[in-house]
């Protein structure tokens, strides 16, 4: 087998050195009843060519987003990633190394993480950030649990336009970790005012910007309300590119920002792996979940980096750890860091402007289609449409014409009639004039 270097001669020699007469003998601690004497019932070994054929066949059974006119978002966005990013993250020294436990031979990963933490802090407008979480949804849950620790309270208020997956993930944790979640009704119009709900038991209020339905809002007042009540404001961002153009949560008084970083540097990959961003205030750093790279010096006085504040973490603190996370999204964070390094302030801002402009153009175009109403007054690169009939079948029909027309709200709320006609549509820099025309034309025809 191509991945196994031992030859039968090696095996024999090693068994002799060990003093065992067979490999089976090495498994003697396994109860006899549990030892399989033959391979399980699965296909036998295959060469590269066969494996490639088998998987390519499955890949061919999917509709590639890039081959369609694609307008899906709802927390996952299709952006153009420069070729240099994928080239660099595939360097074996990054790809095939472990968590940087031995700093002397991990300075590459450690410095990159330190740069990642800095970039995340800069775009969110926060003081510090960690070295990544699994994804935005788990970042959200961890943010709420951190707020519980910081405030020693146990109630979280979740806005109605926080991404449903984030809400559900947080609610799952609430059930088992034993805290209360007040999850507001879905709020496509973004009219819900949460300030009045904040009380002395409230650990945090969780809002999203832009909201799940695309609205862009200023949460400064809500932040003040929270702080007055001794609660924290957690701001969710599912489209990191928006931070290039929209006032960052840090400037609105957010205490914790939990975001999805996929948009920068990472492909769609059917939803994973993605990368959770997690940023907060310096004073809360010892309550933060996840890994942190920190600056220090070596014995010769040269600047270097190490993993630090690990007394928060499971491998030291065990049941008292701030989180049980160990493996995170390192390589996706690296992709984020490289893409962001290429963008810089000028590129990041420009990218955001293009996304916004495309969305504005698309919104106007689609709103002009009979039977379509635009829901949003404000938005960044995503908005909600009210169709004159259920959105799901419309999306199915358009897929048949090579248009991935957006995400029907019914995908998340199948049982809510009021969500049935809602379509969530996103535009990015990857959408062309022709894409938009095809969408508008297709929608016109399907709704006729």
């Amino acid at each position: 087998m191509r991945y196994l270097p031992l030859t039968d001669a090696d095996r024999a020699a090693m068994l002799a050195a060990i003093g065992a007469d067979s490999v089976e003998a090495l498994f003697r601690d396994v109860p006899r009843s549990a030892r399989l004497d033959r391979p399980v019932d699965l296909p036998r070994a295959m060469g590269e060519l066969e494996v490639e054929r088998a998987l390519a066949r499955m890949a061919a059974r999917n509709m590639v987003a890039g081959a369609a006119a694609g307008f899906l978002g709802a927390g996952v966005y299709r952006h153009h990633v420069p070729a240099a990013v994928d080239h660099l993250i595939q360097r074996g020294e990054f790809l095939t190394s472990y968590t940087p436990y031995q700093p002397e031979v991990s300075q590459g990963t450690l410095q990159a993480l330190f740069e990642f933490q800095t970039q995340v802090a800069l775009i969110t407008g926060m003081e510090v950030a960690n070295a990544s979480m699994y994804d935005g949804a788990t970042s959200c849950a961890e943010a709420v649990m951190m707020a519980n620790r910081v405030t020693r309270r146990h109630k979280a208020i979740l806005a109605g336009d926080v991404h449903p997956h984030y809400r559900e993930t947080t609610t799952t944790h609430a059930r088992f970790a034993g805290f209360e979640v007040v999850a507001r009704d879905p709020d496509p119009a973004a009219r819900d005012d949460l300030a009045p709900l904040v009380d002395g038991d409230t650990a945090c209020v969780v809002v999203q910007n832009p909201g799940f339905f695309g609205h862009v809002r200023d949460f400064s007042a809500l932040a003040e309300a929270c702080h007055r009540a001794g609660a924290l404001l957690v701001v969710i961002v599912t489209e990191a590119v928006s931070l290039g153009l929209v006032k960052p949560p840090g400037e609105m008084g957010a205490d914790i920002v939990a975001a999805e970083g996929q948009s920068i540097g990472n492909p769609l990959t059917f939803g994973g792996p993605h990368v959770g961003l997690f940023a907060t205030r310096e004073k809360f750093v010892r309550q933060m979940p996840g890994r942190l790279a920190g600056q220090t010096v070596d014995v010769e006085g040269r600047r270097g980096w190490v993993l630090t504040l690990s007394t928060r973490e499971q491998h030291i603190r065990r049941e008292k750890a701030t989180s049980n996370i160990c493996t995170n999204s390192g390589l996706c964070a690296l992709a984020f860091t490289i893409h962001m390094a290429l963008l810089g302030d000028a590129g990041f801002t420009r990218l955001a402007e293009i996304n916004h402009a495309h969305a504005v153009m698309l919104a106007e175009r689609l709103a002009a289609v009979p039977g379509v109403a635009l829901f949003n007054d404000t938005f960044f690169n995503e908005f909600a449409l009210r169709l004159k009939r259920p959105a799901a079948p419309v999306v199915e029909a358009l897929a048949g014409r090579g248009v991935l027309a957006g995400v029907p709200a019914s995908r998340f709320w199948p049982d809510r009639k009021d969500m049935e006609d809602l379509l969530i549509v996103a535009a990015t820099e990857t959408n062309t004039e022709e894409d938009m025309a095809a969408f508008a034309q297709g929608l016109r025809e399907v709704l006729r």
Binding site: D29, P39, P100, T172, L268
Partner: protein, 518 residues
Amino acid sequence: MSEWSQAIGAFGRQAAAAETISGNRGLMIEEPLLFERDQPGRCGVDLPAPPPVADRLGGLRRGGPTGLPGLSEPQVVRHFTRLSQKNYAIDTGLYPLGSCTMKHNPRLNEKLARLPGFADLHPLQPISTVQGALELIDTLAHWLKVLTGMPAVALSPAAGAHGELCGMMCIRAALDARGEKRTRVLVPESAHGTNPATAAACGFTVDAIPANARGRVDLAALKAKLGPDVAAIMLTNPNTCGLFEDEILSIAEAVHEAGAYFYCDGANFNAIVGRVRPADLGIDGMHINLHKTFSTPHGGGGPGAGPVVLAQSLAAFAPLPWLVHDQNGFRLVEQAQGAAAQTLGRLKGNHGQMGMFVRALAYMMSHGSDGLRQVSSDAVLNANYLLAELGDHLTPSFPGPCMHEVLFDDRFLEGTGVATLDFAKALIDEGYHPMTMYFPLVVHGALLMEPTETEPKEGLDRFIAVVKGLAQRAKAGDAAAFRAAPRFTPRRRLDETAAARKPVLRWRPGEAGREAAE
């Protein structure tokens, strides 16, 4: 001091003195932070001017610049290439990091994960347009179920610890469904930190069970701790001492008799894959680190994937989404309804780590059922070979045979003034990544070595020779030389205490940064 340590000492001094003008040393080139390469007006991408539109931001434009540095593409490529050169990796050498299963990561898997048919799929496309992706997930699930003998598998967990969370939540949900309030979870002292942390995150209290002299769970002690308030045991098998829990059937029996569940930390599945099915050991739930046993790359810390195989008794509580197959093909159940009414709910966004699924399945298919059996055989053989060859020079904590990894403690360093840490750092100078140090906590100054099956015998022989040589030097009284190690790395020992005392977690303008040569 021996000639060796004199040389080192002299070397250490001279090395500093021999600094170059640039601070570089040939191919090892200093690289500052991105932020120290900033030039306003420089950019590594070319984007067209945005079409002019009336903005819809409701006056919420970002005020000032982000502060992100401006670099050109050549600088960015060079920056990260240089950083990568300061890392050790499987691709560069032996990485015997116990409990982490640092095996070869095939490039075929990287190539396939990048097929547009997988990498360029949106998770919320109409189900009719992603049947191939769902077929792949279903195929992976089938392999995992057959290899473990378990009837169900939850695929969404993003890593091992996340899988633990999923498994322990299933157990809590099952207990709730039974109307029982059990709060205590038994965890061996040798367990990985994520186990107790997970139990706590699920609202359980953790009760440590001691190990016996043979490095296994003390069955008597375990039985004594069992009771009506015990929800489950979290057991790693093979355990973190690299030993198979030979009384596992009795453990399972006792746990089940007490009405508790048996959760297994499957991080060490590589030792038994293809040879032993967890189902045959009485396990109710177990996560599998696809980034260990099934070779998806660790990427300097992640991402991973931690699918959890579940017994019938826990299957109903598996997290959303569920993948089902009916006459119209594959379908995702994304709501707590019908058969999924008892689901514990969602654990993360979307449907799991697809990118890892592709890689893991490609790895499994490449090996096949016969090859996977060979994987565990060779992994165990390699570890026992290290035990046999190093047994007289280091101090094995327990007699063999071991499984896929071998545990030594620091008794062989007694009186040498050399600590496990120093020994590890000396290995770095020799071109090796150290073994896992100071874990598990059940022995003193642990050195846990996991060679994996993808290391050739010649490579192990060279490693053995070096470890023996270092052990001799330690015993010869060269503590100073060990404490001076590593000497040939981009940085020598780093001050971790200072890092934690005054944390510097991000770059800030004007902060000290030594510029490096281009």
